[in-house]
Symmetry: C2
Subunit: 437 residues, 2 copies
C-alpha cells in the first residue's frame, strides 16, 4: 500500500513532528461518527479488512520519497525524515468495532494508538475506507428492511465511484443484508454469491426475441432469467411462458412495475409456471421497493444498482479522525476541539452497548452487563487473529438490526437511540475544557 | 486488469454468444449520456485513460477462469469457451470524446466496435470509470464557476468512495478546473499540483497554539498556512499575525465564514500582512462558495472536500452502454430499444459540434464547419497515440466552458443546448422502428 495515498498535510505534519522531536510521542486518534448520514437511524460498520490491510502494508517507495523531496513543502525538511519514511512501518494498535455492528451518532468506529507519525498518516485512508463501505452496508440494510422478506441483490458496479469501489460496495451491501451481487470479482475475492444472466444487448443481438430466449435457456437451464421488456413486456412474458421450463423466472426493467408484475404473474401461472419467479430492476431505491411491496405486487427479488452502490440519498457521512490523547514529554495529555458544531471529546473511549442504550465511557472503565464494542484488531503492528468474513458480519448485522426497536429499523428518521456519557468521561471532558480555557 | 471486474451477466452472455457461434460477430456499443445529472447543464468528460488502460490490459487469469467454471451459471458451458477466455485480448476499436469536453443529454461519450464478446465484457468497467470521473470534473467546474476567479482546491479523498477513488476524483477535479489537490498520490501519478499544510491534530499535539504555529512556520516557511480555529479563530489570527512572515496565510474551517474572514483580514492587514491570504474549508459546496463570494468576504482560496469528491448533490448519472449495431450472418443490423423513457438510438453515431448547437449524425456523415467530437483512440486493439494529459484536458474544458452561454455555465438549470438529429439519423431511427414493429 502506497504511503502517498494520503492527504499531503498528513506528510507535512509528519515531517514537522519529526523535526520537533515528536515522532515517538504516543498518540491516540479516534475515528468517530460525528453525525449520522441524512435519513439514517444507524450506520452498519463495514470496511475493516481494507483498513487492516492498509495498516499492515503501509510503505513508502524510493520513487515516492523522491517525489516528496522535490516538493516546496519539504524544502526545509532534513534528510533524516526521508530515511525514516523509507523504513516506515505501522507498529501501533488498532481497536475497532466489528463489521456488521450498528452504530449511532457520536460513537467511535476505530481507535488508533501509535507513535504520533504512524497514527497521523493513516487518517485519510482509514476515513475513506471505513466510511464508504459503512455507507453502503447501511443503505443495503434499508433496502432489505423495505423488501420485507423479498431478496435484494446488488447490481451497482457500473454506478459505483470507480469499478474497484464497486467490488467493495458489493461486499458492503452483502454485509448489510443483500443476498449477493452481480460483481464477479467480489464473488471470487470474498466468497459472496453472484447473480446475473443477460442484458438487453443479448436480446438485441438475435434476430428475434424468441431466439434469444431459447438460446438463454439452453445456456442457463434452471438458472434462466428472461429479460422481457426489450420490445413489449407482456409479449415477452408470453414468449417466456411458451418456452416453459427450465426457467428460474423473468426480469422486469421498465414500465409500471406493480401492474406489469401482476399481469406477468398471471401469464406465468396460466402457463403452469407457478414456481417461476419475477425479478425487478431499474432505478430502485428503498422507497420504491417499499411501495411495490406494500402494493402487493408479486415480486420475488429486487436487483438494485445506482442508489445502493452510491448510497444515492446520502453519499457521504460526517466521520472524523481526531487526536484524543498524546504524550508530551512523557505526560499524557487529553485533547479535544471545542469549535462550534465540530467539537470532539477527549481521551480514548469505549462503547458499552446495553439493550436499550449505549454508554460512551473511558477506555479502562467497565460497565456491568454491557458489550464492549471496540475490540483489539492489531497490536504492536501485528494482526492478532484473522478478521471475521463477510458472511459472519452479515449475520452480526442481521441479528443486531432485528433487536432494534421498529422505529430505528424503519426508513423514516426516528428519535435517536440514547448514547450517554459515563461519569468518568463527563469528568474528563470538564477537566479538559478547563485546562484549555 | 482482471476480467472478472465486471457484472456476471457480461460473462454469461459472452458464454452464450460463444455457444451460439456469435463470438466473432462485429458489434458496436455506444456509451451515452442518457440524462444529465440533476442540477447540471452539461457534463465534462473525464476518465478516458482508465478506460484505455482497462481495454489494453484486460485478461482472465487461470484462477478467475476456474472460479467461473465452478459457478452454476456456467455448468452447461463447453470447455472451448474457457480456453477462449484464457487467450482473451481486446482487439477492437475505441472512439471517444476527448477529456475536458462538455457534453449534453443524449450524446455518446464513447463507442466500442469489436467482436461481440470483446465489446460486451467491458460494459461495466467503462461505465463506472468514465461516469465517475465525469461527475467529479463536472462538479469541479461548478465550484470554479462559483468561485469567480478565486482558486478551488480539491481536498476530498477522505470522503471519496474508497481512497483509490479519491486519487481519480482529484485528477477529475483538476480537469474540471481545480488548481490542485491534497492527494499526494495524484500529484505523483498525474503531475498535478498538491496542497496541504496542517490539521487540528497538529495544533493539539503541542502544549499551546503559539508553539504549534511557530513550529509550522519553521517547517514550511513561505508555504505556511496556519489553521486558526482550533481554540478561538480571532485569537488564532492574532497569534499568526504576531509571528509575522514568512506566512502564505491562514485557514478558517468553522464558524461564520463571511464575518470571520473580514475580521481576520483586518487583523492581518493591521499587522502589515497584506499579502497573507485567507483560505476557507469546511463543508463547502458551490452554493456556499457563491454566497461567500457575493457577500464580498475576503477569501482567496477555497478547499472543498465532501461535496466535490462525491458529487454530493448528484452522485450518479444516467449513462448507458447499448448495442447499436451488430452483424448477424454478415448482414449489418441496427439495434435500438424503444422502451418507455429508456429508449436508445440505432447505429454508430458522431457528434458534430457547432457554435450554438450539436448535431447527432451517423458516423460516416460529415457536417461542414463542425468539430467531430468522437475521435479514434484504440484501433485494432492498439492505442494509436498517447492520450493528452490532465493539464491539456483542463485547458480544453476551460476553453469550452468559456464559450458556453452564461445560462449553461451557471449553477441553475437552464434551457438545454440543442442536440439535433441529422436527417440520416432520423431516417435510420424510423427504419429501425418499422423493422421492429
Amino acid at each position: 500500500m502506497t504511503g502517498l495515498l494520503t492527504d499531503l498535510y498528513e506528510l507535512t505534519m509528519s515531517a514537522g513532528y519529526f523535526e520537533a522531536g515528536k515522532a515517538k510521542q504516543k498518540a491516540t486518534f479516534e475515528l468517530s461518527l460525528r453525525r449520522l448520514p441524512s435519513n439514517r437511524n444507524f450506520v452498519i460498520v463495514a470496511g475493516l479488512p481494507q483498513c487492516v490491510e492498509y495498516l499492515l502494508n503501509l510503505r513508502f517507495t524510493a520513487e515516492e520519497i523522491a517525489y516528496l523531496r522535490g516538493l516546496p513543502q519539504f524544502a526545509q525538511v532534513s534528510p533524516a525524515f526521508f530515511d525514516y519514511l523509507s523504513g516506515f512501518r505501522f507498529s501501533g494498535d488498532l481497536f475497532a468495532v466489528p463489521e456488521g455492528t450498528p452504530l449511532f451518532a457520536g460513537e467511535p468506529m476505530m481507535m488508533v494508538r501509535a507513535p504520533l507519525i504512524e497514527a497521523q498518516i493513516p487518517e485519510t485512508y482509514l476515513l475513506s475506507a471505513i466510511t464508504f463501505q459503512s455507507l453502503i452496508a447501511t443503505k443495503a440494510a434499508r433496502m432489505v428492511e423495505a423488501g420485507s422478506g423479498r431478496g435484494i441483490v446488488e447490481f451497482g458496479t457500473r454506478r459505483a465511484h470507480t469499478p474497484e469501489a464497486g467490488v467493495l460496495a458489493a461486499r458492503a451491501a452483502y454485509i448489510g443484508g443483500c443476498l449477493g451481487t452481480s460483481n464477479s470479482l467480489t464473488g471470487l475475492r470474498y466468497g459472496i454469491p453472484v447473480f446475473g444472466t443477460a442484458a438487453h444487448s443479448w436480446v438485441l443481438s438475435f434476430s428475434n426475441e424468441m431466439d434469444s430466449f431459447r438460446q438463454l435457456q439452453k445456456l442457463l437451464g434452471p438458472q434462466t432469467v428472461q429479460l422481457i421488456d426489450t420490445y413489449d413486456t407482456l409479449e415477452g412474458a408470453r414468449r417466456a411462458a411458451e418456452l416453459g421450463p427450465p426457467l428460474w423466472g423473468v426480469r422486469l426493467d421498465s414500465g409500471d412495475i406493480v401492474t406489469l408484475a401482476r399481469q406477468v404473474r398471471t401469464i406465468l401461472d396460466q402457463a403452469g409456471l407457478r414456481d417461476s419467479k419475477i425479478m425487478v430492476t431499474g432505478d430502485l431505491d428503498e422507497q420504491k421497493i417499499r411501495s411495490i411491496v406494500s402494493d402487493g405486487a408479486p415480486v420475488d427479488l429486487f436487483g438494485v444498482g445506482t442508489e445502493l452502490a452510491t448510497s444515492g440519498d446520502a453519499p457521504s457521512m460526517g466521520t472524523v479522525y481526531k487526536l484524543v490523547e498524546v504524550d508530551i514529554c512523557g505526560i499524557k495529555r487529553f485533547t479535544a476541539k471545542f469549535s462550534e458544531n465540530k467539537g470532539t471529546l477527549p481521551g480514548a473511549k469505549q462503547i458499552f452497548r446495553l439493550p436499550d442504550r449505549d454508554v460512551l465511557g473511558r477506555v479502562a472503565e467497565c460497565c456491568a452487563g454491557a458489550e464492549a464494542l471496540l475490540q483489539p484488531v492489531i497490536l504492536g503492528g501485528n494482526l492478532i487473529e484473522p478478521l471475521p468474513d463477510a458472511k459472519t458480519a452479515q449475520a452480526r448485522a442481521a441479528e443486531a438490526i432485528a433487536k432494534l426497536p421498529a422505529g430505528l429499523r424503519g426508513l423514516e428518521v426516528a428519535p435517536p437511540r440514547p448514547v450517554e456519557h459515563s461519569n468518568d468521561l463527563m469528568a474528563l471532558i470538564e477537566r479538559t475544557r478547563r485546562n484549555l480555557a
